[in-house]
């Protein structure tokens, strides 16, 4: 029992916070951050100005009515209870009217505000999502998926629930505060002064608290994001975890992160929990002061009993909005921290926005209606990191309709070359052109719409097989989808599945094999009917018999299209119009199969070494 009572006081205070709290950090910098975040939320809210003004009007009305109520009760005590003035019924009817109006106005303001706030959340969500799709691909490589996920979901939800409940309270608190102050001053300046004796105490207390809670909440939110990332990773790697019996280990890892949340969460909650208690106590204090001093003044005849009653209630009303706010301080703080994290993503620099380029350099950012498919690289260089070239001095040309095979050891830069062509990255040096045009002047969207990809990792969405194939071209008819599947040799296996084309696939395509996924991905590319086709080890996990059949389909597809093929198999490579041999990020040989073989270079060594290997 004793332990249970001391335990709550023994949570270690998070280390990072101690440093921040004691390090003489200027509170202004933090406040600026918060107000900046709030300001940005405001710009969203402001889009519904007309309605917001209506809400504000209702808030003004209801705050006024809320002031009028207690005032009238005080009046009733002084004028009717202590004397027998006539028309008491009429007076009470007036009071009743005030109450009815109060209910109506607060009802309206709430209902309208819900609409505004939810619309705001909707817009923020959409903006965030849209922005996410404009971020460069490396952004996603650098971060854990679960961490980004947490910003889009947890943080967004936080903002949502807080806007619903707290937004109005902020308005009405301020109004009620001002209104109460006015009436109080009018009734008795002396009692008002006494009531406000507690304000400096309040400000001091609040400052002490918020200085700590701000960073604590941010810390908690970070811990939560970390935990999220961990869960995401361990859940998607569940098969491996099971097969390796590593459950105890991931559970241990989870515990550590869970513990971190408990720690920052405990202190964030405890300290921010002081706020309503502080308010309450100060409330009680001012109540005691008003009652005591008011009583003395009343005996001296300086104030009436009615005024004391009004004051007591006003003192309460004056702190109640703050109290309500304080009660939601937890949510409010974590929502602001959440919004900050949301905006952090929104502030990430986008993959140079196509439209912006257009504005900057008229005519430079082109949309291509038609692409012949001529591709040329001249002295292209690129590196992922600052140091060390991944690709250097790559020069070659592909005529429309040609098939280009990329050959080389693993890690030679084949995939990178393709990523440059599709503008996932831009070269650090040199020039890439399509139909003679520098591709950095072509809109990414437009460029990619003329290309189709079958990537090493195919990805399937949750939805029917039909929808997944139609992803290649959204306006394709059912017949076209089926036609493409037949070309890709996917039709047969699709028909064998229960439900056929309407079979619903799980996210990531659980339930069908990797090879089948590739077939669907190929069907998807066929349906897209591109001018430039990229097959990045597309057939690596398809068995040979199926591959031979697919080759026919791909052959038909490649007819008249420029295609880039990264593949292992010689029979694919031999058909290529041009073979690019890459080694350590350099293009060491290029030309058709026979020519390269005759030259007796690396390729021919590969080829012969290959045969020797096979014969072993």
């Amino acid at each position: 029992m004793f332990k249970a009572l001391t335990e709550p006081f023994q949570h270690p205070f998070p280390e990072i916070e101690l440093r921040k709290g004691g390090g003489g950090r200027k509170p202004k910098a933090k406040a600026k951050n918060v107000s900046g975040t709030v300001g940005r939320i405001w710009t969203y809210l402001a889009r519904r100005k007309a309605k917001l003004i209506l809400v504000l009007f209702m808030v003004v009305l209801s705050s006024g009515l809320a002031l009028l109520g207690p005032y009238m009760i005080g009046k009733a005590v002084d004028d009717y209870l202590q004397s027998s003035r006539a028309h008491f019924g009429l007076f009470l009817a007036g009071l009743g009217l005030v109450y009815v109006l109060y209910s109506v106005t607060s009802w309206l303001q709430n209902i309208w505000m819900i609409e505004i706030s939810q619309e705001t959340v909707y817009r923020m969500r959409m903006d965030l999502f849209t922005h996410l799709h404009q971020l460069p691909i490396p952004f996603f490589g650098k971060r854990q998926q679960g961490e980004i996920m947490s910003r889009l979901t947890n943080d967004m939800e936080n903002v949502s629930s807080t806007l619903n409940s707290s937004a109005i309270q902020i308005f009405s608190s301020i109004l009620t505060l001002v209104g109460t102050l006015g009436v109080m001053l009018y009734l008795s300046p002396l009692l008002t002064l006494l009531t406000f004796l507690v304000v400096p105490l309040m400000i001091l207390g609040m400052r002490w608290i918020t200085r700590r809670t701000g960073p604590l909440y941010k810390q908690r939110q970070n811990n939560l994001g970390e935990l999220n990332g961990y869960i995401e990773e361990t859940l998607s790697g569940q098969r491996i975890i099971k097969a390796f019996s590593q459950e105890p280990r991931v559970i241990r890892g989870f515990k550590e992160r869970n513990e971190a949340i408990r720690r920052s969460g405990f202190w964030a909650q405890t300290i921010s929990g002081f706020i309503p208690k502080l308010m309450n106590s100060l409330n009680n204090l001012s109540f005691a002061i008003v009652a005591g001093v008011g009583g003395i003044l009343a005996i001296r005849g300086a104030v009436t009993i009615g005024i004391i009653i009004v004051f007591v209630e006003y003192a309460r009303q004056f702190t109640r909005p703050l109290n309500d706010l304080a009660n939601q301080w937890n949510t409010l703080l974590s929502a602001i921290a959440g919004a900050e994290r949301v905006f952090e993503v929104m502030d990430e620099e986008v993959e140079v926005k196509d439209e912006e380029v257009e504005v900057k350099d008229e005519g430079a950012s082109v949309k291509l209606d038609h692409v012949e498919g001529a591709v040329s690289f001249s002295h292209v260089a690129f590196s992922y990191e600052e140091n060390g070239d991944t690709l250097s001095d790559i020069s070659f040309e592909a005529k429309p309709g040609e098939m280009i095979a990329l050959v080389g050891p693993t890690g030679a830069g084949k995939t990178t070359l393709i990523q440059l062509l599709s503008r996932f990255y831009d070269p650090s040096d040199g020039l890439i052109t399509v139909d003679g045009r520098d591709i950095t002047t072509i809109q990414r969207q437009s460029l990619r719409s003329h290309m189709a990809f079958v990537l090493q990792d195919s990805f399937l969405f949750q939805g029917t097989i039909r929808e997944n194939i139609r992803f290649g071209r959204l306006d394709a008819t059912d017949e076209e989808v089926e036609e493409a599947s037949k070309l890709a040799n996917a039709h047969a296996f699709i028909m064998r599945l229960g439900g056929g084309y309407d079979r619903v696939l799980e996210t990531g395509g659980n339930g069908i094999s990797q090879g089948q996924k590739q077939l669907l991905a190929i069907a998807r590319a066929i349906l897209a009917s591109p001018s430039i086709l990229v097959l990045d080890e597309a057939t690596s996990s398809i068995d040979t018999i199926t591959e031979i059949k697919i080759q026919e389909g791909l052959q038909r597809l490649m007819q008249g299209r420029t295609s880039f093929v990264i593949a292992h198999r010689l029979n694919t490579i031999r058909q290529a119009d041009k073979i690019l041999v890459l080694k350590d990020g350099r293009l060491i040989e290029q030309g058709p199969h026979e020519k390269l073989l005759a030259a007796g270079g690396f390729y021919s060594k590969l080829y012969h070494g290959q045969l020797r290997n096979e014969e072993m």
Partner: protein, 587 residues
């Protein structure tokens, strides 16, 4: 809800203390109107200054007590709710980890993530709120009415009249709100699912220029979420003004009858004022009602979702080994698994599926032998090898290892002796060393390096600027497909398994590297299952299993199959005919 709340039992003392502290605070507040009435009636009206001083002093002192109680309640409530959340999350994650793979696959991972984070937080907030704030509301209402009755029975009864209305209203609202927020939650799940999908498939969406399409899809779900949220919140917010009106009417009645009583000499001004003051307090408390109810109904929905996971029955997996003493201490044979594997008439279909994946599979391999599994896409190769570490259980027949039915071998013992390399590479955040050592936590540097050498990845790692300490991004973004495959092979090898399963794990390797790898594996003398597409790797196998649509089309050595199986010959032809070779590298 009840089951979830039982997690709070451990923190009963802290919870009760928090509630008691709140009660102290509350009684101080509830005394105030009563004391005011004393000041009015016994002090002001009879002009007795000492009475005012006395009660004013009591008010002052009590507010100090309330302050101390309030601050310490913050500690207790926070401790109870945070520890509750910690335990709940912990147990929930344990539970998820204890699922068999088949049961695990039933849940979507995005929804499991929400349950583990968002839902738990929701409950935690609810408990914190309850311990400090929410329980105040009913207590203030009843306490105020009680005090009003003490001050003046007749006037107090006016307040009692409002109670049945209040209760009916609140119960009705709770009911509707719970189902409403359940709906909101489902819509939210849908939105989150789209986000998750988009994050995973971001590259594909970009290359296919489907950003617009995805944004439209997202907008559709977000809009539905918004509408549902607005609808249920509106209902919530509509109720409070009515409740307030109800209590306000009671105040008017108190004033009306109070005046009559004063005139008749049955009541004093102070008493009427006190009762009116109590009514105002009720109103003050009730104004937070909708907010509280909203949180409660959300918490109930969250509790339901957590319970769904907790209540998922799953008998197949043995209980999680104590983290202290993972494997080995079981009562069964402690001798290591040698690696003889036998399938006896094994059939399999995925739970809830109508497709027969495997049917009548029979074969036997001795310890240390190499099995190559060959077959068309979807012929059941991956499913077959996943049965060996019991990721799934066969729906028919038996699998024996070292002559023992696998169902009689504990998961931990069985899996401890298996090295599994899945088809889709899954690397974890952390360094390369961490990722290899992931297979064997207390592996020494030497063991890690040996495994990397065997997997033909040591040289590549060595050339990286930070070597084995190179950090991998999510899913190993900065490595090529082949490098990732070799890394996950190293991860399996570091376990020194007696059974090694390679599920097409060499597809992205060039032939020379692959050959070197297979040569290396030969020295390890572990039973190796190798799913492959390449005849080059089947030739060295002791047993080749040729699968066709879930059945064993042929089995035997390369030479046998060349003679007996037409299908095998066709595959051979396609790979060894003119110009069908693989070209990659020499190194």
């Amino acid at each position: 809800m009840g089951m979830v709340l039982s997690f709070l039992r451990k923190y009963r003392a802290a919870s009760i203390t928090a509630l008691l502290m709140m009660l102290v605070e509350l009684s101080v507040e509830l005394m105030q109107p009563y004391l005011i009435s004393k000041i009015i009636d016994n002090g002001i009206r009879v002009k007795d200054l000492s009475v005012v001083w006395l009660w004013g002093g009591v008010l002052l002192g009590s507010s100090v007590i309330a302050f101390i109680a309030g601050i310490s309640s913050s500690f207790f409530a926070s401790h109870a709710s945070q520890s509750f959340a910690f335990d709940l999350r912990d147990k929930l994650y344990d539970k998820v980890q204890s699922f068999t793979y088949s049961v695990f696959s039933r849940f979507e991972s995005s929804s499991l993530i929400t349950r583990l984070t968002g839902d738990v937080t929701q409950l935690q907030d609810m408990i914190f709120m309850s311990l400090r704030f929410a329980t105040r509301v009913p207590l203030v209402v009843f306490g105020s009415i009680l005090m009003a009755l003490i001050v003046d029975v007749k006037l107090g009864l006016l307040l009692v009249l409002t109670i049945p209305f209040l209760i009916v209203f609140v119960v009705w609202m709770m009911k509707i709100a719970t189902s409403n927020f359940g709906r909101v939650q489902r819509r939210l799940d849908k939105v989150n699912e789209v986000i998750q999908e988009n994050l995973t498939g971001i590259r594909l969406i970009r290359v296919f220029v489907r950003v617009g399409h995805e944004i439209e899809r997202f907008a559709k779900f977000s809009l539905a979420l918004m509408k549902e949220t607005v609808r249920s919140l509106r209902l919530m917010e509509s109720t409070v003004p009515y409740i307030l009106l109800l209590v306000n009417c009671a105040i008017i009645a108190v004033l009306w009858f109070g005046r009559i009583d004063i005139a008749a000499g049955d009541a004093t001004v102070g008493q009427v004022v006190a009762v009116a003051n109590y009514s105002l307090r009720i109103i003050g408390a009730l104004s937070a009602l909708s907010w509280i109810l909203m949180n409660y109904s959300r918490a109930i929905a969250s509790a339901g979702r957590i319970q769904e996971v907790m209540n998922t029955e799953d008998h197949a997996e043995d209980p999680l080994p104590d983290s202290v003493n993972a494997a080995g201490k079981s009562s069964e044979l402690v001798e290591p698994i040698r690696g003889q594997v036998e399938f006896r008439n094994v059939g399999f279909r995925y739970p809830g599926s109508d497709i027969t994946v495997l049917d009548g599979i029979n074969f036997k391999v001795e310890a240390g032998q190499r099995v190559a599994i060959l077959g068309a896409t979807g012929s059941g190769k991956s499913s077959l090898i996943q049965l060996i570490p019991r990721l799934h259980e066969p729906t028919q027949g038996e699998i024996h290892i070292d002559g023992v039915d696998t169902r009689d071998i504990s998961h931990s013992r069985l899996r401890a002796s298996i090295g599994y390399v899945p088809q889709e590479v899954m690397l974890f955040t952390g360094s390369i060393r961490d990722n290899i050592a992931w297979g064997q936590e207390n592996a020494s540097y030497r063991q890690i390096e040996t495994a990397a050498r065997q997997a033909q990845i040591h040289e590549t790692i060595d050339q990286l600027p930070e070597g084995y300490d190179t950090k991998l991004g999510q899913r190993g973004v900065n490595l090529s497909g082949g490098q990732k495959q070799r890394l996950s092979i190293a991860r399996a090898l570091v376990r020194q398994p007696s059974i090694l399963i390679l599920d097409d794990s060499t597809s992205a390797l060039d032939v020379a590297t692959e050959a070197a790898l297979l040569e290396e594996l030969r020295d390890l003398s572990c039973t190796t299952f190798l799913i492959t597409q390449k005849i080059s790797s089947t030739r060295s196998a002791d047993l080749i299993l040729l699968l066709d649509e879930g059945r064993l089309a042929a089995s035997g050595k390369h030479e046998d199959l060349m003679q007996t199986s037409l299908l095998y010959r066709q595959i051979f032809e396609s790979q060894y005919g003119e110009g069908s070779q693989h070209v990659q590298s020499l190194n």
